[in-house]
């Protein structure tokens, strides 16, 4: 039963990847829609970022002094100026670890 659900979930997921590329031609979307689609990365990724920072494993909001908020701010500043993905991730993680292992321990 679980196997069957995984296969159905897989087909469904594949459909979400394939539908707009294989079944819909670009002309079917007007110029206005194309202009709005420019914003897709900015409109999608914060929905992954915000909950991962502001909501804990138990589904409630974190405190204002949560180490993850601090780590995210460091990552944003470093990322903005360095334009370097590795530097962004590492400084975010290191500042987060510094807080949980050194300051708050």
């Amino acid at each position: 039963m679980t196997w069957l659900s995984i296969i159905v979930a897989g087909v469904l997921t594949y459909f979400t990847r394939m539908a707009m590329i294989a079944l819909v031609s670009r002309e079917m979307l007007g110029d206005k829609i194309k202009a709005v689609l420019e914003y897709v990365p900015s409109a999608v990724f914060p929905a992954i970022i915000f909950p991962a920072i502001f909501i804990n494993d138990f589904g409630s909001f974190v405190d204002m002094n949560d180490p993850k908020i601090f780590g995210a701010i460091v990552a944003i500043i470093v990322g903005y100026f360095s334009k370097n993905i590795i530097a962004t991730i590492l400084t975010g993680l290191l500042s987060y670890w510094f807080l949980i292992f050194v300051v708050f321990s």
Binding site: M18, M20, I21, Y39, P41, S42, V44
Partner: protein, 228 residues
């Protein structure tokens, strides 16, 4: 004009930094499946059949928590529905490909491969074989995902939980959008999406992941109207 091989290699190069977060996440994902008591073959098969990190974890947690298969499948579908938006953006660059090629390339479209290849496509839209960049980013991520979930399944969670490596996931996406903070319209769209995701976090089937982008894109369309 870049060759197919150069584009493919460039794709691998562009997505590699994100493996810093994909790898630990894959290990966590594989280890969770086994810890929840699922058949290891089943946990691994998900990486191949579904190939979508967050949705795989949600699926396993729901089933082990006693939810019906229907609820679990619906949640996976809703969490992954954001790919429809990625496809709509990428279709412009892939429409010259044959139907079969479009079917094949669709399988490797994930968050990071979309983000990095879309950035590359926008800057180099005169290149002829652009899709090789997407094959490079997508296949690199696919291989890493298979290896990392498999290691999590076999070795268990050998990354200590205290390290909180799940935090690498939001960091990877911060790295993707951070340069757009220079543009005020993008900042407004990002804040709209982020706040909506917190507001609708408890909506059924994890639907905040698609509700917030829809709201944010609506705000984007209002911004475009004001700009004119």
């Amino acid at each position: 004009m870049l060759t197919k091989k150069q584009l493919f290699t460039r794709g691998i190069f562009d997505i590699s930094p994100h493996m810093l977060s994909v790898f630990p996440f894959g290990i966590i994902c594989g280890a969770i499946g086994v810890e929840l008591g699922f058949n290891p073959y089943l946990v691994y098969a998900m990486s191949f059949i579904i190939f979508g990190g967050a949705s795989q974890i949600v699926f396993l947690q729901l089933i082990s928590g006693g939810a019906s298969s229907l609820v679990a499948v619906a949640s996976v579908g809703i969490i992954n529905s954001r790919h429809l938006l990625y496809g709509a953006v990428l279709s412009e660059y892939l429409e010259k490909l044959s139907f079969i090629k479009r079917l094949l390339i669709s399988y490797v479209i994930v968050d990071q491969s979309f983000a990095e290849s879309n950035k590359f496509f926008k800057k180099n839209n005169t290149e002829q074989h652009l899709h090789y960049h997407l094959i490079g980013t997508g296949c690199t991520l696919w291989v890493c995902w298979q290896i990392s979930t498999l290691s999590g399944i076999i070795l268990g969670s050998f990354v200590p939980e205290e390290l909180g490596l799940k935090f690498a996931i939001p960091l990877t996406f911060i790295a993707i959008v951070v340069q757009d903070l220079k543009k005020i319209d993008h900042v407004i769209v990002m804040i709209t999406c982020g706040l909506s995701s917190l507001l609708f976090f408890d909506a059924p089937f994890k639907s905040y992941i698609i509700i917030s982008p829809v709201i944010a894109l609506f705000v984007a369309s209002l911004i475009l109207r004001l700009k004119k």
